[in-house]
């Protein structure tokens, strides 16, 4: 514990350097804007700005990109509350009671509760990250190829299980992502795979063109400007503070949301947006006045907003300690670190302590910056929200092209982005969630390498995965999750995931 505190102090020394403070601020500001603007999620925001970080050091790059990620969680609540349009996916539940509070003239209070809840939960998440990540990294040093293979399989199965779309659809997307991730030179044998004589494909398909295409361009293709309308409620600055009763009503939801969100976030493969849904359902269940939900319940804002912030911080634990992305966003962040020559994983704490502790410390600072940004600048964000979407999306397309091209100055990458955009449009039409595809793409090299190494180690005996205790434990969890999904399928009963999906679509009340 003492070593952790000393390392954290060292991290603060790095985080408080002027240039690192500047990049943390920039990330938080851009993240908040990304969260505020509907149509641009944190994934496309991070993907588009990833090339901009190539001139920065690894520490600065990850500080800024992470700032965009958790900043977007704060910003998403602004649009949800003021316009009833979720700024990004994990703010969907805040739309319900947040906008209801705004219509009652309590928009300022809702924004303040969301911001304070996000700050408390974010800080809680960072404290837990500080305590959990280093010991987890020590345990992970015992991981060999079989353990990594089992963990990655668990991540995919867990993502499929937690997804509100069907298991089959999620696994299909993961398979497509894995196949895309195997394009290029096979690292173990040197064979060119599926490159069709394009030299640029020899290095494989990058995550940036895929992520920007699927989530940035794909969203724009599916959203004609006439579909993006909304009345913006403008809160008065003097009404920003909640009253005493609202503060009291928000304390326990913030506490519960923080814990629940962190637990969801640290599980590899879990879609952390689930945290806000689960928090909303939990708060409604434990509330003495469940009839208030949907009509401006404070807990309906405080709980989900805290949960999604805590989850976004918890997601960094497997990424930093194990080198496993928990979802597409952490996958892109891992890609950013790898571009800078830093491999996330158990060795990160020991080999790059400046990067690890500087990053962790910057998150404490970043959460404070976001609290300061979100309330006084709400007027600025309302102005941004008034920019017609018709003028906004050409700008986004421009940034998509420029950003993808700047990664490796390859037009092939930009064409891949366009193809992925069309794929994203098609997937949305047929109700497929593209997120597992990106996860599959990122983990494909690690998954294939660990699988093949495991089989080489065991001379072809696949029982190696069952003879090692950690690997066996992970595969047993996979089996349980698959059994639960199969049971639901056989009994033809709606389970909690389908109910959440219907609640998200507004078809039922939780």
């Amino acid at each position: 514990m003492e070593d952790t505190l000393i390392s954290l102090m060292h991290g603060f020394g790095i985080a408080f350097q002027l240039d690192n403070l500047w990049y943390a601020f920039l990330g938080c500001l851009v993240g908040t804007l990304v969260g505020v603007l509907p149509g641009i999620g944190p994934l496309s925001g991070i993907s588009i700005l990833l090339p901009v970080t190539f001139g920065l050091s690894a520490t600065q790059a990850v500080i800024m990109l992470a700032g965009i990620y958790y900043g977007s969680q704060y910003g998403g609540s602004t649009t949800s509350i003021l316009m009833r349009i979720p700024g990004e996916a994990s703010s969907v539940m805040t739309c319900i009671d947040g906008n209801a509070m705004a219509k009652k003239g309590r928009a300022g209070a809702a924004l303040c509760i969301a911001a304070v809840g996000s700050w408390v939960a974010g800080t809680f998440g960072v404290i837990m990250l500080t305590m959990v990540a280093p010991p987890l990294a020590t345990i992970a040093l015992k991981f060999g190829p079989p353990e990594y293979t089992a963990l990655l399989i668990l991540g995919l199965i867990f993502l499929a299980y937690m997804s509100s779309t069907s298991l089959v659809r999620t696994l299909l997307m993961a398979c497509i992502g894995l196949l895309l991730g195997m394009v290029g030179i096979d690292n173990m044998t040197g064979h060119f795979r599926y490159s069709f004589d394009f030299a640029e494909l020899g290095d494989g398909i990058g995550i940036v063109p895929v992520a920007v295409g699927l989530f940035g361009l794909g969203e724009i293709l599916s959203t004609p400007s006439h579909k993006v309308v909304g009345e913006v409620i403008t809160p008065k600055f003097r009404e920003l503070l909640p009253n005493r009763l609202e503060w009291l009503q928000s304390i326990m939801p913030i506490a519960r949301g923080s814990v629940l969100g962190f637990i969801i976030g640290i599980i590899p493969g879990s879609a952390h947006i689930i945290s806000s849904f689960l928090s909303y359902a939990l708060e409604k269940k434990v509330s003495k006045h469940p009839e208030e939900f949907g009509h401006g319940a404070v807990a309906g804002v405080a709980g989900p907003e805290s949960a999604n912030n805590s989850a976004s911080t918890g997601a960094f634990v497997p990424m930093l300690a194990l080198g496993i992305p928990t979802g597409p966003i952490t996958a892109v962040l891992m890609g950013a670190l790898m571009v800078h020559g830093v491999n996330p994983g158990p060795q990160l704490v020991t080999e790059h302590p400046d990067v690890f502790w500087g990053f962790v410390a910057s998150m404490y600072v970043g959460n404070l910056m976001l609290l300061a940004l979100n309330l006084p600048l709400v007027g600025l964000f309302v102005t941004v929200l008034r920019i017609p979407y018709a003028y906004l999306y050409p700008l986004i397309i421009m940034f998509c092209i420029v950003g993808v091209y700047e990664v490796s100055h390859s037009v092939v990458d930009v064409w891949i982005m366009l193809i992925m955009g069309l794929l994203g449009y098609g997937l949305r039409k047929f109700a497929f969630d593209p997120a597992p595809l990106v996860l599959g793409l990122v983990i494909a090299p690690l998954f294939e390498q660990s699988l093949r190494q495991s089989l080489i180690m065991s001379n072809g005996d696949y029982l190696i995965f069952f003879s090692r205790p950690i690997s066996l434990g992970l595969l047993i969890v996979c089996g349980i999750l698959l059994a639960l999904s199969t049971l639901t399928f056989i009994l033809k009963r709606k389970d909690w995931r389908e109910k959440l999906a219907e609640a998200e679509a507004g078809e039922i009340e939780l």
């Binding site: 001139g55 599926y194 050409p394 093949r452 080489i456």
Partner: protein
């Protein structure tokens, strides 16, 4: 039998999986003790076919294909064509000219906005972006004749 969305989607995934298997023909599968470069792709392609078939078999739970809303198709097609043209011209005409043309095409052809406003907005935004990238971020952008 009504054609449903999952019939089409499942069939597409089955075809894709078969295509990958066909393209993997010359990749060595190897043995379990020494998996080759075709080992995992063939397994994943087979799983894609299996899951695609599962989707087709459960297609009854999906919406009819004719109920899919393609109202945004014209918007998507126009944006795709204009973006493709911009990508084609990007390294030839350079950042400034290409992006001004891209934004004006989107605002005039897709959004039917006022030409003067569209022109001023496009030029201002592109020039501002150029200054940010080239001067502030020291990230050079393609010039005309690049």
């Amino acid at each position: 039998m009504t054609l449903r969305a999952d019939h089409v989607a499942g069939a597409a995934f089955i075809v894709f999986g078969l295509l990958v298997l066909a393209l993997s023909g010359d990749l060595p599968t190897g043995q379990l003790s020494m998996p080759g470069s075709g080992f995992l792709p063939k397994i994943i392609a087979t799983m894609t076919i299996v899951f695609g078939a599962a989707l087709v078999l459960r297609a009854r739970e999906s919406v009819p294909y004719s109920d899919l809303d393609w109202g945004d198709g014209k918007h998507a097609a126009l944006v795709t064509v204009i973006t493709a043209a911009a990508i084609y011209l990007y390294t030839w005409l350079g950042f400034i000219i290409t992006m001004v043309l891209l934004m004006m095409a989107l605002l005039l052809v897709v959004e039917r906005r006022n030409p003067v406003r569209a022109g001023i907005y496009s030029a201002a935004v592109v020039l501002f972006t150029y200054v940010c990238f080239a001067w502030l971020l020291k990230t050079p952008l393609p010039e005309y004749g690049y």
